[in-house]
């Protein structure tokens, strides 16, 4: 039912965009270029005294380096092309190459942008805008996120990051009352992982769609700049090969920006339909085999605060920034459902990160951080370990 609202919202947004006559026809005051390369990169050292490899040997440090160029190409005033590649040397010394996104923006009119291709999904703020290491104030990702450098012992409850499809973005001015941002998109959607009981939901889509049902999503945000932005995102798509099992998720993101401090975070929830089966004992003592569908829920939140020491007015403190972040995740896999699937459910718990950043340039930062994780469902792993980590990371944007 909710997807019908999305369809209607997308249709309405398209119609209204078509009706708008306010074109950005004024000329740019800049010399018009064709190509620019920007991007970011980082090199990080992680000290994790309790980490063991598969043979039980100590793995007490990891050094990871990444280089992520963004290629920007301006075909015309209306059409802009962008692509981001990630080159990374992982903790095993192997080079990984990932196409983060490759898409075309069509600037339809003054307030409407149509994006086609592979793009970062406007689902919350972290995945879309805040994950680049020189922007992410911490050296690790919020506990609700998996991927993008891994998340240690926590499972991560959302992997909604990028996908292939079409997005329509609008900016609605409310005058002195602020702005409204809307995004609505249609993308390939999640796939079904191999495994028992329908496997799991694979958000890391690289092979196109596996069924004839596209995923729909959107974000509506209110911004009262420069201080506030609050957004609500929704995502829904069938993930099983037969299109019968759905995955839906929402997140509420908030962002407060002060002159010296920021507070931001996300509240996330998701539901995945899964296939289950069990033997049911009848009154006469016999057993019958029953198959049924059951929703599994995952949710969590993170909140992060930063403070710039330049508020104290001491020149030597100007480059210093303090970071504090708390994340918590919960799931039906946390023990409330007794099933072998629990082993595959990832670990749920809470995580706290303390960090101190030293800014070398507006887009270059040296981060020193410590992170401690408490796992609620230790049984959800074959090798329970304490997960305390210390980070040293140099991140830069260019």
């Amino acid at each position: 039912m909710k997807t019908k609202y999305l369809y209607k919202a997308v249709t309405t947004a398209l119609l209204l965009s078509s009706a708008s006559v306010a074109y950005a026809s004024d000329a740019s005051t800049l010399d018009v270029g064709r190509l620019a390369i920007s991007g970011y990169g980082d090199v990080g050292y992680t000290y994790q005294p309790n980490k063991k490899d598969a043979d039980g040997n100590d793995i007490q440090n990891n050094v990871v380096a990444r280089f992520i160029p963004i290629f920007l190409f301006q075909m015309s005033e209306k059409i802009h092309i962008e692509a981001e590649l990630e080159f990374a040397v992982d903790e095993n010394g192997e080079t990984e190459t990932v196409l983060e996104y490759a898409n075309m923006h069509y600037f339809f009119n003054d307030n409407t942008i149509i994006t086609a291709g592979r793009f970062l999904l406007p689902f919350g703020q972290f995945g879309a805008n805040l994950h680049p290491s020189w922007i992410n104030k911490a050296a690790s990702n919020p506990g609700i996120y998996g991927g993008h450098g891994g998340n240690g012992s926590m499972g991560g409850v959302t992997g909604i990051m990028n996908d292939t499809g079409v997005n329509i973005s609008n900016t609605w001015s409310l005058g002195d009352a602020g702005k409204l941002f809307t995004d609505f998109y249609v993308v390939s959607g999640p796939r079904q992982e191999a495994g028992d009981h329908g496997g799991g939901v694979d958000m890391d889509v690289k092979k196109g769609d596996n069924n004839d049902s596209m995923a729909l999503g959107g974000r509506v945000a209110y911004a009262f700049l420069p201080q506030w932005e609050i957004g609500l995102s929704y995502y829904s798509g069938a993930y099983s090969n037969d299109g019968e099992l759905d995955y839906t998720a929402y997140t509420i993101d908030f962002n407060w920006i002060g002159s010296y401090a920021t507070v931001r975070g996300e509240i996330f929830g998701s539901t995945a339909g899964t296939e289950w089966e069990e033997e049911v004992e009848l009154p006469d003592g016999s057993e019958v085999h029953e198959e049924f569908l059951q929703d599994l829920n995952k949710n969590g939140f993170y909140v992060q605060g930063t403070w710039q020491a330049r508020q104290l007015g001491k020149a030597w403190l100007n480059p210093i920034e303090l970071v504090l972040r708390y994340s918590k995740t919960a799931s039906d896999f946390d023990g409330s459902i007794s099933h072998v699937l629990e082993e595959d459910g990832g670990r749920m718990g809470s995580r706290i990160y303390y960090g101190i950043n030293y800014w070398l340039e507006p887009s270059a930062v040296l981060k020193f951080g410590a992170e401690s994780t408490s796992i609620d469902n230790e049984a959800a792993s074959h090798d329970p370990i304490a997960d305390d980590r210390i980070f040293l990371q140099l991140a830069f944007g260019f």
Partner: protein
């Protein structure tokens, strides 16, 4: 649920109507003389939502013209707003407004401190005489608190006391710097 279904298109239509009614104001602002100041304010408000604003000198004007559409999409800026930001960036990178002590522009009429503050869009990031942005510190008491030498050096070399400062470096004459200091000192 039916109520939501019924009301959603009307909400969007209402918001759209508000948007269209305010577009005429945006279009006028795009062609008036305060475009740079408007761009500075937008630069301060939008860049800082996600990351430290980056000094204009990090890219050339040609590069900025390609980077700005990318940032317009990221920040949900309108086309008019992006043009205003481009005007601000251009103002910091355009040679003909660079008025250093060795240039031939010494012969240009001296602008007042108030004019210079407007031209350079200082209030995009700083509160001066009760108006302006909050990205940087308010400047009404800066001269009294930190002294003339500090302000002159900050105008000459914005990152000397803060490596992460996004303040653009505006080459300007000694007379320009003094005019700005005098303006900041005035009640």
């Amino acid at each position: 649920m039916k109520l939501i279904k019924l009301v959603l298109p009307f909400i969007i239509i209402t918001v759209s109507a508000l948007t269209l009614s305010t577009f005429s104001v945006s279009a006028q602002a795009a062609s008036d003389g305060s475009l740079v100041a408007k761009g500075a304010k937008l630069y301060s408000e939008n860049c800082g939502r996600c990351h430290n604003p980056r000094p204009a000198e990090e890219y050339t004007k040609r590069e900025w013209s390609v980077v700005m559409p990318h940032m317009r999409a990221k920040a949900h800026m309108t086309g008019k707003e992006a043009l205003a930001v481009e005007a601000f960036l251009a103002s910091t990178l355009t040679a003909d407004i660079r008025d250093d002590d060795h240039s031939s522009t010494q012969d240009k009429p001296q602008r007042t401190g108030e004019e210079l503050v407007t031209v350079f869009g200082c209030q995009g990031c700083h509160i001066i005489k009760g108006e302006g942005g909050t990205l940087g510190p308010q400047l009404d008491t800066t001269v009294a608190d930190k002294g003339v030498k500090f302000v002159i050096r900050k105008l000459l070399e914005p990152t000397f006391n803060n490596a992460a400062s996004a303040m653009p470096r505006y080459p300007m004459s000694t007379a320009d710097k003094q005019a700005i200091v005098d303006y900041l000192k005035s009640e």
